[in-house]
Amino acid sequence: MAILSVKGVNKRFGGLQALGDVNLDVVENTCHAIIGPNGAGKSTLLNVLVGKLIPDSGSVVFDGQSVLGRQPHEINQMGISRVFQTPEIFADLTVMENMLIPCFAKRDGAFRMHAIESVRHEKDMIEKAESMLSEVNMLDKREMTASAMSRGDKRRLEMAMCLVQDPRLLLLDEPTAGMARADTENTIELLKTIRKERGLTMAIIEHDMNVVFSLADRITVLAQGMPLVEDTPDNIKGHPKVREAYLGEAQV
């Protein structure tokens, strides 16, 4: 069953057709990759999904409810978490505090005036944060200031912050961009493990074909804002139109 369904979405920036009649269904418990050359409209589509952009026409329905016109924080509260191209974390705070914030957000909603309670006494939340940290092998870094960590660790922290909220859909915007080979491999392994253990639904935008083909169940290829083709990874690899538009120079 499709948990996220995008129908006939159009978005123009002045004279540029950024998205033209995009249709997309993300099925529960699958990983759906969106690929395409630079300027194909991948990021625009993602921004529509998280409420940062409102399309000119079309509908985006998540779990039976429209997400259009909702604020990013409302869409997160519906169960969509997003990992950014450059890790967006709370750089001045410790790793543990970074983890506690999404825990509180999940439990208390968009705002709660919990000014007198002590963080030390939030045993449940601390436990939850710790178990997530150990799942991504970062428990030993819990007291580190987030800004002091390596790029790969920041990425893992950001994913842990998203996952600790038990999202129903995880959106990943080029999660391995700018990463060293080893970090990329680690990230793929991490995502695979998490999927296996949690049955997570993911939508991923990615340039690295290695990442896409090792994770995705379905792939949508965008070109110049239009969905070119949607199919399984095996069929995409051999598809002549895709080769022509996008994979021509890549070694597939």
């Binding site: 990013p72 967006e88 001045d92 909603g109 968009a110 007198i116 002590s118 030390r120 007291e143």
Partner: protein, 398 residues
């Protein structure tokens, strides 16, 4: 103790001790000695120490945690003062309702101004708050004269007839706490030393202790973490399902209530208020106090407020005659030269000294006086525990 961990409890106890024994600690020099002018243990100045301490603690909850620099906090101090004086004039001369009223009005005013100013962030937010405060000042000075007494401000008059318990003999009423007047003092003579214990000071001190305790609780709460998250990354907050603007607004209102409390206490002590209390230089002073002491630290704002008020009241009293006495041991020509040179830094020119100190602190100790103290204690070999809760206390503001 009271829900604080060991380290915070120690800090709390130290502050309580300092505040209670301030009449002794601030009067180290015997009466009549040459150093007596450095004594700060008189009621008027001690009251100012704790009241401005409250103001800076409240400002720090907004600026130190969320990073939003309000340049109009004196407005809340002012409206709190006006609210308190009207309570004294019309309702009762008891200071408790006056102070509560000041807190409520300060908080409400902050909610209105915050709601509008928080549409913007960064420098635009600062400018908006500055504009609101200057507007409040201008209105208190002119069109709102019936409410504010205009240029002359408001005092308690012998024509005032409060609802509860005003004076019946036509004398001017005095602010009191269930009959005990704020000006009541007990003087303790020990040899050449005179220590003054003033009721008004201890009431203000009690308020500061409560304010400080609440600020520790906020720093250590989930709400406190959210406020630091606002400073760190609002984008991530949005995508984590949180509303940074609402959190900031609540921080703004809380710090407005602190300012209202300070304003109410000022009126309780000297039963008068004028519009100059809302002037932009007063707002600037709050910012300087907080940064000088260490924004984002627990104790910094109190230290900053104390040092500025000390300089304002003690340095400014040193005039040329005093300087001549100090340098009397030098040969005549040299004495005059020294007096002329030293006079640049004291008396009416004390702002110059403040400016130099502030510049030195900002350049060499971006974490304020607290960072200075931390470096000193590190240098003298005292092992610093790396405590998890320490991060909030040692993260300097940008």
């Amino acid at each position: 103790m009271l829900g604080l961990d060991k380290k915070d409890s120690t800090l709390m106890l130290v502050v309580i001790g300092l505040v209670i024994f301030a009449p002794f600690l601030l009067n180290p020099f015997p009466e009549g000695s040459a150093m007596a002018q450095f004594n700060a243990g008189y009621p008027d100045l001690m009251q100012r120490f704790v009241i401005f301490g409250i103001l800076a603690i409240g400002f720090n909850i907004l600026f130190g945690l969320t990073g939003y620099l309000s340049f109009g906090h004196a407005a809340f101090l002012g409206v709190g003062s006006y609210a308190a004086i009207w309570s004294l004039k019309l309702f009762t001369l008891n200071v408790i309702p006056a102070i509560l009223f000041a807190i409520i009005v300060g908080g409400f005013f902050a909610w209105v101004i915050g709601k509008i100013s928080l549409k913007r962030s960064g420098i635009y937010f600062s400018i908006l708050t500055l504009a609101f405060a200057q507007m409040s000042f201008a209105m208190a000075y002119s069109v709102l004269t019936p409410l504010t007494g205009g240029e002359t401000g408001l005092q308690i008059k012998n024509t005032d007839n409060p609802l509860i318990g005003g004076p019946t003999d036509g004398s001017i009423g005095r602010a009191n706490l269930f009959g005990a007047e704020m000006g009541n003092s007990f003087e303790l003579n020990l040899g050449n030393w005179v220590f003054t214990f003033n009721l008004g000071y201890y009431i203000a001190a009690l308020a500061m202790i409560a304010a400080f305790y609440l600020s520790i609780r906020i720093f250590r709460s989930p709400f406190g973490i959210m406020l630091r998250a606002v400073k760190s990354n609002q984008n991530r907050m949005n995508y984590t399902g949180l509303t940074p603007k609402v959190y900031t607004l609540y921080a703004f209102v809380i710090s407005g209530m602190y300012a209202g409390l300070a304003g109410g206490l000022m009126v309780a002590m000297d039963t008068q208020v004028g519009p100059e209390r809302m002037f932009w230089t007063a707002s600037g002073e709050i910012v300087i106090m907080t940064i000088l002491g260490g924004a984002g630290t627990l104790i910094g704002p109190v230290l900053g407020a104390g040092s500025i008020k000390y300089m304002e009241n003690i340095l400014s009293k040193i005039n040329k005659d005093v300087l001549h006495q100090w340098f009397a041991f030098l040969p005549d020509g040299l004495e005059d030269a020294m007096v002329v040179f030293a006079d640049i830094f004291v008396g009416k020119q004390w702002h110059f000294t403040l400016g130099i100190v502030f510049m030195l602190v900002v350049i060499f100790l971006p974490g304020g006086l607290v960072e200075g103290a931390q470096r000193l204690s590190a240098r003298f070999g005292r092992k610093k525990k790396t405590d998890t809760t320490d991060t909030a206390a040692s993260t300097p503001a940008e």
